[in-house]
Every structure is written in structure tokens, then in C-alpha cells.
């Protein structure tokens, strides 16, 4: 397994490209943005202000823009920028996937108290969500598919319904894979939503299961508007990360001091950071554990790689953290199993089907892989049937 020479990402990382010099696309994109001068950022800010002018000029709706928010530190930062710096009136829209941690609940509900903004929270029926948790897990090894879908669809549906052309998003998506350059100015794209966010699945793929019944009318929050609708209304999703320097640690400090935004009390089990993913207990938990089960790396690798780039960690320190956290089976597994009414055996039997032969091998009935420090470790029993093991070994060739 080849790893980036600078950070701790393996070459198998989703959408990552490692160049001939051994440095990955995520590091390179970070470097590019990091070496922009204050003049460059001034120019970028001016570009954003042109957009603000367009928002003000063409606005026929009651609201100036939609801000999709989860209640996280970034949501607060985006809202703060739009209201305080640009004096616009946004409509906050949240997709509620029913996975909030208590601090996340507080932060989300606090938004319209600390910001002078209306807030729509769209939560699909919990019964439907539980079914989607199961189907997402069984289909593609991700119980959180519904959340990726909801977050990237419901705000656009609301924007279309209220005829609000602009949506203001925050960090440019897929910066963890470095999929764009500083001069690309990517906007929200249905293509990226579909193939990267939703892995190529849409609501139609979830309504035909013979045992788990979901109807079309249960999925209206998941139906992305047509091209014609988008173009007719001129709907555009703008990432402020294109125009302003993105610094999550700074944002979190600022949001805590200005608006009493709460980080996690206590610690996450699978990463050392406490300021991310409070809106979904599984994001650093079992949803991310499944990333480890598939590809052999986890959320700690994501955070540590970012912190290497900003100089907060050395590569050796990062490696130690990755070895400590990436593989941890967190307690939210049991919370989830109770939520959907299944047992632990069910989890491992299905999860193991998604082990990727590009990372994993089977030895003495256990899963083994090469680590970022070059060592090889065993990571637990294989929960596959003999036929499934055969199939896996064939793929491994």
C-alpha cells in the first residue's frame, strides 16, 4: 500500500491521486491555497462581492439566499459571514437525519436565537429513516446514505419552492481528495452530489425492496430538481471556501466566543478532534468505521492529514494517532443496533462483505493489512461464509 509522503493518506483513499513525486492531490491543493497571497485573497473576496451584488439585484424572493446548515461550526461561520459581513437575510435550512448528539441539538436550535434568521428543519419520518439506515448499510456499506442525500437535496428543493436562486455553502467539497484548483471556483453540482455524495444511487434505488417497504411519497425530500427548474430559477450553490481562507480551528474559536457554539463535551472515540460532526453521531463513529472496514483508513487519518499540512502535527505524531484511533470500534455501534433492531452479528456479517481486496488480506481467519508505519497488523475475525471468502480471495488475485 502506497502512502502519501507528506500526510498519512493511503493511495486507496477515496478520489485521491498520488503524483509521481509521491505527494497526494489533497496536500497539493492545500499547498496551492496556502500559497495564495493576500492580494489573491483580496481578488477572491471581490469576486464574492460581485455575487452578493447579483443576489441583491435579482432578488424577487423574501429571502436573499438559503444557507444549508447542520448547526456545526461551519454552519455558524457561513451564517455569520452572510448576516454580519454582508447584511443579507438568509433562510437557514437543515436536513435532520435523527442522528444528532446533544451538543449538536443545542447548536442547531440555538441558531435562530443568536442569528436573526428564519430556520426550516426538514426531518423525514423516523420509520423511513430506520429503513434507509438498513438499506444503505446492506446496499453499499453506509447507513448514512440518507444523510448525504438529504443534506445535498432538501435545501435545493426549499430554494426552488421559495424561488431563492442562491445557496451559500461553506467548505469546497472533496478538499480531502484535492479535486479542484484555486482558479476552478467549483459550484454545487448535481454530478458531484450524485456520483460522489450518493455513490451513484438515487431514491429510485430504495423503493423496490421486497421486504423493506418504502414508497415514492416517502422520498420527496430526496428528489433533486430537474435541470430545467434549476436553470429557469437560476439556482446556484456557492462555496465561500472559494473566496475566503478556510480555517476550521479559527472558525470554531470565533463561533464559540461570539455565539456560544458548543464543542463536544468529552471525547470522540475514533478521532482526537472535538469540533467536527456533532450533527451526526455516526459520522466519526460507525459510518466512518465502515470506511476503515472497506479501505483501511478512518476519520483520524483525515484529521491528522489536515493537521500535518497546517503544521499542527508532525508526520510521526500523526502516524501514532492514526495507529491509535483509525480502527476503533466505537460505542455508537450499539446505539445504532438498538435503533434499527438488529444484533452485532448482523453488523459484522454484512460489513465484512465490503472489505476491499486492494487493502485487506485474510490470514488464519483474520483480516490483516499493511499500516501507515509499514507494519502489518491483524484487525479482527473474518465474519464471512466459506463461499464469500472464496469470492474475496478470487478478487484479490
Amino acid at each position: 500500500m502506497v502512502y502519501c509522503k507528506k500526510c498519512v493518506y493511503p493511495i486507496i483513499s477515496v478520489n485521491l491521486e498520488i503524483g509521481e513525486d509521491g505527494i497526494c492531490s489533497s496536500c497539493k491543493t492545500f499547498e496551492e491555497f496556502n500559497s495564495l497571497t493576500s492580494y489573491d485573497w483580496e481578488e477572491k473576496k471581490k469576486k464574492f462581492e460581485i455575487i452578493v451584488e447579483q443576489i441583491k439585484k435579482n432578488n424577487k424572493s423574501n429571502y436573499d439566499c438559503v444557507i444549508p446548515v447542520s448547526g456545526g461550526k461551519d454552519s455558524y461561520y457561513q451564517t455569520h459571514k452572510i448576516i454580519s459581513d454582508y447584511k443579507l437575510k438568509p433562510l437557514l435550512v437543515t436536513y435532520h437525519g435523527n442522528n444528532y448528539l446533544p451538543e449538536g441539538d443545542f447548536n442547531r436550535d440555538n441558531m435562530r436565537k443568536v442569528f436573526d434568521a428564519d430556520h426550516i428543519v426538514w426531518g423525514p419520518s423516523v420509520e423511513v429513516l430506520k429503513k434507509l439506515n438498513i438499506l444503505g448499510f446492506e446496499k453499499m456499506g453506509d447507513m448514512n446514505w440518507h444523510a448525504h442525500c438529504g443534506i445535498f437535496t432538501s435545501p435545493i428543493i426549499i430554494a426552488a419552492k421559495f424561488k431563492i436562486p442562491f445557496l451559500i455553502w461553506g467548505e469546497i467539497p472533496w478538499d480531502i481528495s484535492g479535486m479542484y484548483k484555486a482558479n476552478d471556483y467549483p459550484e454545487f453540482s448535481a454530478r458531484v452530489r450524485h456520483e460522489h455524495g450518493l455513490r451513484g444511487y438515487e431514491w429510485q434505488d430504495f423503493i423496490h425492496h421486497k421486504d423493506i417497504k418504502i414508497l415514492e411519497k416517502d422520498m420527496i425530500w430526496a428528489k433533486y430538481p430537474s435541470d430545467e427548474e434549476i436553470v429557469k430559477l437560476g439556482i446556484r450553490g456557492i462555496y465561500i471556501g472559494n473566496y475566503f481562507k478556510w480555517d476550521p480551528n479559527e472558525h470554531s474559536k470565533l463561533m464559540q466566543s461570539l455565539y456560544n457554539w458548543k464543542p463536544l463535551e468529552g471525547n470522540f472515540q475514533r478521532t482526537y478532534r472535538k469540533i467536527s460532526n456533532l450533527d451526526d453521531r455516526y459520522e466519526s463513529g460507525i459510518h466512518d468505521l465502515l470506511k476503515f472496514i472497506k479501505f483501511g483508513y478512518g476519520r483520524c487519518s483525515d484529521h491528522a492529514s489536515k493537521d500535518i499540512r497546517t503544521g499542527y502535527l508532525s508526520r510521526d505524531e500523526a502516524i501514532k494517532l492514526v495507529m491509535k484511533y483509525d480502527h476503533v470500534v466505537s460505542d455508537d455501534l450499539y446505539y445504532w443496533l438498538k435503533y434499527i433492531g438488529k444484533d452485532e452479528n448482523y453488523f459484522w456479517k454484512i460489513a465484512d462483505k465490503f472489505r476491499d481486496p486492494r487493502t485487506w488480506k485474510i490470514k488464519d481467519g483474520n483480516w490483516i493489512k499493511e499500516n501507515v508505519d509499514g507494519s502489518i497488523s491483524s484487525y479482527g475475525k473474518v465474519h464471512l461464509t466459506p463461499d464469500e471468502i472464496d469470492l474475496f480471495n478470487k478478487k484479490n488475485k
Binding site: 486507496i12 477515496v14 478520489n15 485521491l16 491521486e17 503524483g19 492531490s25 497539493k28 491543493t29 453499499m140 456499506g141 453506509d142 481528495s177 484535492g178 479535486m179 479542484y180 484548483k181 482558479n183 476552478d184 471556483y185 467549483p186 459550484e187 454545487f188 453540482s189 448535481a190 454530478r191 458531484v192 450524485h194 456520483e195 460522489h196 455513490r199 451513484g200 444511487y201 434505488d205 435541470d227 430545467e228 434549476i230 436553470v231 472497506k294 479501505f295 465490503f354 476491499d356 486492494r358 478478487k395
Partner: protein, 268 residues
């Protein structure tokens, strides 16, 4: 009256669409199938698919997606032919007449030949006689060296001994049907097309020309349409980051009366 063409280019490296800068730095964009579908839905006039993989390995690197993991470039072409009903030019790793035939049978309307043509111009002649000139596109990558445009090969990594003007003559004499001219210097920079290069090619050849390299905003396309007579305007990175990009670009060109087809959304 024949219209001018707006053409998205998909660079495919090891099975995925990538974007490039100066032919050296690559970033993943996504699945070939989705990009092709979007370009179709946005009413592109043609599509150019170039295989720029250095090794013969095609792999999406994961198995949990709702996409077929094709193991060869031909399989990719066959796969997209199932749902792409617009003209496609396919290029990359064309070494023999059999390679050309394989692409044409799999769904390509034209093939783009680059390095093989420079190494042996007679190959162009044989290809155009067998398959017809209209199928044969000569994809030409150039770099400005000592104030002259020099033809480069092997994905821009090697400099040939041909100066552009000289090469264009040879290419046309050997039966090429169309020139696809790519500026390595402007590639991925987003600072505009190389108008001087385009006009140089236009005035030194009697076959249709498609230009590429440097698109960063809508205005760049207007510049090319206005200041050159080029038949086709192509871009790779530019169409990937904004929805309905092709449609919106066409709309601007159409509304300014530059003789492009009316922009339409299509069902496939």
C-alpha cells in the same frame, strides 16, 4: 447552414475522468459515465474522450459504488455507448489500424491520433484510406519554445523535431480529416485560449479545426468565436465544476449570434 461546435473533452486516466494542468498535474473528477451523461443532457455538440493513462490499469479503486468497474478503455467506450447518442471522438494509445477499428466498432465516430502520427506520418495516410478521412482526427499538442510552436508527443512529455506549421502540412497531406489543437502552456490555467496559436493553425490548413486549452470563463469562448474562424471550441476542466456549464456556454454563444446550435436540455 453548418453550425460551429462546442465540445467537452474528458481526460480519462486509469478509468476515471481527471483534470490536468500543463499536462502534468492531475486531479480526479469522477466517473466517465456520469460526465458523459451530463454532457449529453446539456446538449453538447460532440464529445472527445482521451485515454491519458500511462499504464494499462483501469480501476475505480473501490467496489461499493453503483457504477460498473470497467477494466479496459474499450470497455469504458462500450459502456458509455449504451447511453450516449451524440458524436464521440476517442483517442489515446492508438498504435495500429486494428486499434482504430476497435474504437470505431465500440461506438466512436472519429479517432484522435497523436504520437503515432508524429512517429510515422504514413500511418495517417493508411488510416484515412481505410476508414475515410472524416474519421481521422490528428490531435496536436504544442508548447511555445523559443517563440516557436513545437509539436510534443507522449502526453506532452517529449518534444518532437517538428515545428507546428511544418507538421500541419504533413498531417493534411497524409489525409487527416480534422485537427484538434491543444496548448500545453495554457492547459488548466484558466487564463484564456491561445488565440495566436488558433489563428496560426487556421491559416495554415484547409481542414476543420477544433481548439482546446485555457478556458476559464464564458468570455474566453466568446473571444475565440469572435476573433478566430475555428470550427470547434473545446474545453476539459472548464465544464466540470459548474452545473449546466455546456448549456450556459452555448446560450451565451447562441445569443451573441456566433452560429452555434440553439441550447437545449436533452433527456439522455
Amino acid at each position: 447552414m453548418k453550425k460551429r461546435r462546442l465540445i467537452p473533452v474528458l481526460l480519462i486516466k486509469n478509468g476515471m475522468v481527471v483534470q490536468s494542468r500543463n499536462f502534468k498535474e492531475f486531479q480526479k473528477i469522477g466517473m466517465v459515465k456520469t460526465s458523459v451523461k451530463r454532457c449529453s443532457e446539456w446538449g453538447s455538440d460532440e464529445l472527445i474522450l482521451l485515454d491519458i493513462s500511462r499504464e494499462n490499469k483501469y480501476d475505480l479503486n473501490r467496489d461499493d459504488l453503483n457504477f460498473v468497474n470497467n477494466n479496459s478503455f474499450i470497455d469504458i467506450v462500450l459502456d458509455i455507448s449504451k447511453s450516449c447518442f451524440m458524436p464521440i471522438t476517442v483517442g489515446g494509445k492508438i498504435y495500429s489500424l486494428k486499434d482504430i477499428e476497435n474504437y470505431l466498432v465500440s461506438g466512436a465516430d472519429k479517432v484522435a491520433i497523436n504520437t503515432s502520427a508524429v512517429l510515422d506520418p504514413k500511418f495517417l495516410d493508411l488510416a484515412s484510406k481505410k476508414f475515410g478521412s472524416q474519421c481521422i482526427v490528428n490531435s496536436v499538442d504544442v508548447k511555445l519554445i523559443n517563440n516557436k510552436y513545437i509539436v510534443c508527443i507522449n502526453n506532452g512529455s517529449e518534444v518532437s523535431s517538428y515545428e507546428l506549421k511544418e507538421w500541419l502540412k504533413i498531417s493534411e497531406q497524409n489525409g487527416t480529416g480534422e485537427i484538434f489543437i491543444n496548448s500545453i502552456d495554457n492547459d488548466g490555467r484558466g487564463n484564456g485560449f491561445d488565440l495566436e496559436l488558433i489563428n496560426l493553425v487556421e491559416s495554415n490548413i484547409n481542414i476543420p479545426v477544433v481548439c482546446c486549452g485555457g478556458a476559464g470563463k464564458f468570455e474566453h469562448f466568446l473571444e475565440v468565436a469572435e476573433k478566430t474562424n475555428v470550427d470547434g471550441i473545446a474545453a476539459a476542466n472548464f465544464f466540470q465544476h459548474v452545473d449546466q456549464s455546456v448549456f450556459l456556454t452555448k446560450k451565451i454563444l447562441y445569443e451573441k449570434n456566433f452560429n452555434f446550435r440553439e441550447p437545449r436540455f436533452l433527456k439522455i
